[in-house]
């Protein structure tokens, strides 16, 4: 991040304490790297585990890649419903994130403005359902009455405005200096214009982060899809993956199963990676918006 130099330009020579600090940070990062690599790598190795494999997990981690087998990926990607389910999940995620941000950003901004009469009561009003979780049936009754069952929006609508995400976003909006808002008033902007012209351009990092939180939640949703989408053609990916996992481990009574080419552990592990693909692709793009001092620059300008 090049911007770091903006304040290093005035830097005096690094002191001993600074050097110790840097060493500590580096050591911490390296230790963390080692600790994080273990589960990720062992899952990768596991997902390529060949059928009829003897040996422990640990030995499996060091299995030579030329002995790997892609059987698990083949059986997952080769499933007849895979593409359809993948596409359903993409649709749910995209529609969901758009709806979620459309609901979350205005509320977060509105509640971040100081001196709005009734703000406290609105906040308590939204905290009550956050704290009370009444379970599956009460929400099902609502979705059923609204006629949303067997429509993809039923998966994200009940959680399209997450109180947690909204409050976090509000906190970031509150951190934007009030002078900016005041000077915009002077220029004749109303609150809606201020939100679009001033707040949003300064909040790319948090909007991306909250968008990611929503995307992951919608992408991985299992319970709501299970209840609200009874048509097989609407089945999203997590549901299909779960069916495959359970089906593979319950094949006791079947004379044959379609997934005989890979051990169940490998299929479990491979399904993790397949379902994380969009997130693995998306995260580096989101990181681009994580640049230092975005706010400071605009205040000066």
């Amino acid at each position: 991040m090049a911007k770091k130099n903006t304040y290093n330009s005035v830097a005096v020579k690094a002191t001993a304490a600074d050097r110790v600090f840097n060493i500590c940070v580096t050591i911490f990062m390296i230790l963390l790297l080692i600790v994080l690599i273990v589960p990720i790598w062992s899952t990768i190795a596991l997902s390529f585990r060949p059928p009829a494999y003897i040996g422990s997990y640990l030995e499996g981690m060091f299995l030579a890649p030329w002995k790997w087998s892609a059987g698990a990926y083949k059986s997952l990607l080769g499933n007849q419903g895979f593409l359809n389910s993948f596409w359903n999940s993409i649709k749910i995620m995209v529609m969901g994130v758009v709806t979620a941000l459309f609901l979350t950003i205005p509320m977060a901004y509105a509640l971040s403005v100081k001196g709005v009469p009734g703000k406290k009561w609105i906040t308590i009003f939204i905290m009550i359902p956050y704290v009370f979780n009444v379970g599956v049936v009460p929400t099902y009754l609502l979705i059923s009455k609204l006629g949303l069952t067997n429509h993809l929006p039923s998966v994200f609508m009940p959680v399209a405005l997450s109180t947690y995400n909204m409050i976090i976003m509000r906190q970031f909006f509150e951190g934007i200096p009030n002078d900016l808002r005041e000077s915009a008033f002077i220029d004749g902007c109303n609150d809606i214009q201020i939100m679009f012209k001033i707040i949003l351009p300064l909040s790319k990092a948090i909007i991306m982060t909250i968008g990611l939180y929503y995307a992951v939640a919608f992408w991985n949703d299992y319970m709501r899809s299970l209840l609200y989408l009874q048509k097989s053609s609407l089945k999203p990916l997590p549901l299909l993956l779960r069916d495959i996992l359970i089906g593979t481990s319950m094949n006791d009574n079947l004379e044959a199963n379609a997934f005989g080419t890979a051990p169940i552990e490998a299929i479990k592990a491979a399904s993790v990676f397949i379902s994380a693909i969009p997130m693995i692709i998306a995260y580096p793009f989101i990181q681009k918006y994580f640049t230092k001092g975005t706010l400071a620059g605009s205040v000066k300008g």
């Binding site: 304040y7 830097a11 005096v12 002191t15 600074d18 600090f21 840097n22 940070v25 580096t26 990062m29 963390l32 790297l33 994080l36 273990v38 589960p39 990720i40 596991l46 997990y57 640990l58 609901l103 509105a110 403005v113 009003f125 905290m127 009550i128 359902p129 956050y130 704290v131 009370f132 979780n133 009444v134 379970g135 599956v136 049936v137 009460p138 929400t139 009754l141 609502l142 009455k145 947690y164 409050i167 976090i168 906190q171 970031f172 509150e174 002077i186 004749g188 109303n190 609150d191 809606i192 379902s275 994380a276 693995i280 995260y283 640049t291 001092g293 706010l295 400071a296 205040v299 000066k300």
Partner: protein, 358 residues
């Protein structure tokens, strides 16, 4: 136009202030004056108080008018809350009724059975043990994972090795996507008494292998640490986003004044992201009785029920055996506790840190 409105606000509040001063003055007079004057003074006081109330009402209206676009922005989300959050909450009363179905009894048609389900839960033989375990895990995870994720965020922010920073930032959030089924496999391979790495080390030093996952002493540590292992990178994202907003000029000023890196973290970085930390903490306290169902359901076994059974796992075992209404009762119990703790900690936070939810 808004500038003008601001000016009006200024005027109104100045006038209200003047009014309140006059009231204070009259109150003083009322105490000091003799019996004869009392009547006229108190009448004047009454009149002034009325004026103030009116003026305050006008001020409030003006304030509301000034924020009308804010209310416009709030309109759709509030309607959303009514439909998607409050109607289910209203439907939640079926837990207190002999509800059968929408057609047969409707939401409100079933006979009120009151708190019978609560009783089953509160009078449970394991009630206190469940509360203790639940709190142990949620506080334990908060105490371990939250500081670690903050440290991770700061380390990523401060790291001078570009490549290392990139790799750690990209890898750290990945374990979040590993399900507990997968994590359980990994833990078993590390901790198994017959072939786990930890027991291999113990055997190397001549010890006897232990089944950590079925050991009541080791189990809580496994739960809390494995949760940190899986989640800190993910939780750090929000703090990294917060760090990106810090004004660089603060650092420049600090460097000019001779502050070293440690001092910069202590006096600039941490205070800058403190409001976000406080809010995350408050939100977690609101759901403090959710101690991680998926993880514990995967990791525990009867051998460690005494330290591994939490409210949610207990309820789940009940529902498998057909006791469905328990879930809603326990959910409401958790909500009451969460709400209470939330109000207390929000009050404390407003008092001591100046940031709060409401």
């Amino acid at each position: 136009m808004w500038h003008y409105a601001g000016g009006v606000m200024q005027m109104i509040s100045t006038r209200n202030y003047a009014l309140s001063l006059e009231i204070e003055e009259l109150k003083k007079q009322l105490k000091e004056c003799g019996e004869s004057e009392k009547e006229t003074v108190s009448a004047a006081l009454k009149q002034k108080k009325k004026d103030l109330r009116k003026a305050e009402g006008r001020a409030l209206l003006a304030e509301i008018n000034r924020h009308k676009f804010i209310y416009l922005l709030l309109f759709i989300p509030v309607v959303y809350y009514f439909i998607f959050k409050y109607i289910p909450l209203w439907n939640g009363q079926i837990a207190f009724r002999e509800f059968i179905s929408l057609k047969r009894t409707g939401i409100t048609g079933g006979k009120w059975v009151g708190l019978a389900n609560f009783k089953t839960f509160i009078q449970s033989y394991y009630f206190w043990s469940l509360i203790r375990n639940t709190l142990m895990y949620s506080f334990g995870k908060l105490l371990v994972s939250l500081p670690l994720s903050i440290i991770l965020a700061i380390a990523i922010y401060e790291c001078t090795h570009k490549a290392l920073r990139k790799v750690v930032q990209t890898l750290s959030y990945l374990p979040h996507f590993l399900s507990w089924v997968i994590m359980y496999g990994i833990l078993l391979s590390l901790l198994s008494p017959s072939e786990g790495i930890f027991n291999d080390i113990i055997k190397l030093f001549g010890g006897t292998p232990r089944g950590f996952l079925t050991d009541t002493k080791a189990f809580p540590f496994i739960v809390i640490l494995s949760d940190a292992w899986k989640e800190i990178g993910w939780s750090a994202i929000i703090f990294i986003a917060a760090l990106m907003g810090i004004d660089g000029s603060l650092f420049e000023a600090a460097i000019v004044e001779g502050a070293n890196s440690w001092q910069r973290v202590r006096y600039i970085t941490l205070p800058s992201i403190k409001p976000v930390i406080v809010i995350v903490l408050l939100m977690k306290i609101g759901t403090i009785l959710d101690a991680g169902f998926n993880q514990l359901y995967m990791l525990y076994s009867p051998a460690v029920y005494s330290v591994g059974d939490i409210i949610d796992t207990w309820v789940y075992r009940g529902t498998i055996q057909g006791q469905f209404s328990l879930a809603t009762a326990a959910g409401i119990f958790k909500g009451v506790i969460g709400m209470t703790l939330l109000f207390i900690s929000n009050w404390a936070s407003r008092k001591f840190t100046e940031s709060s939810l409401f």
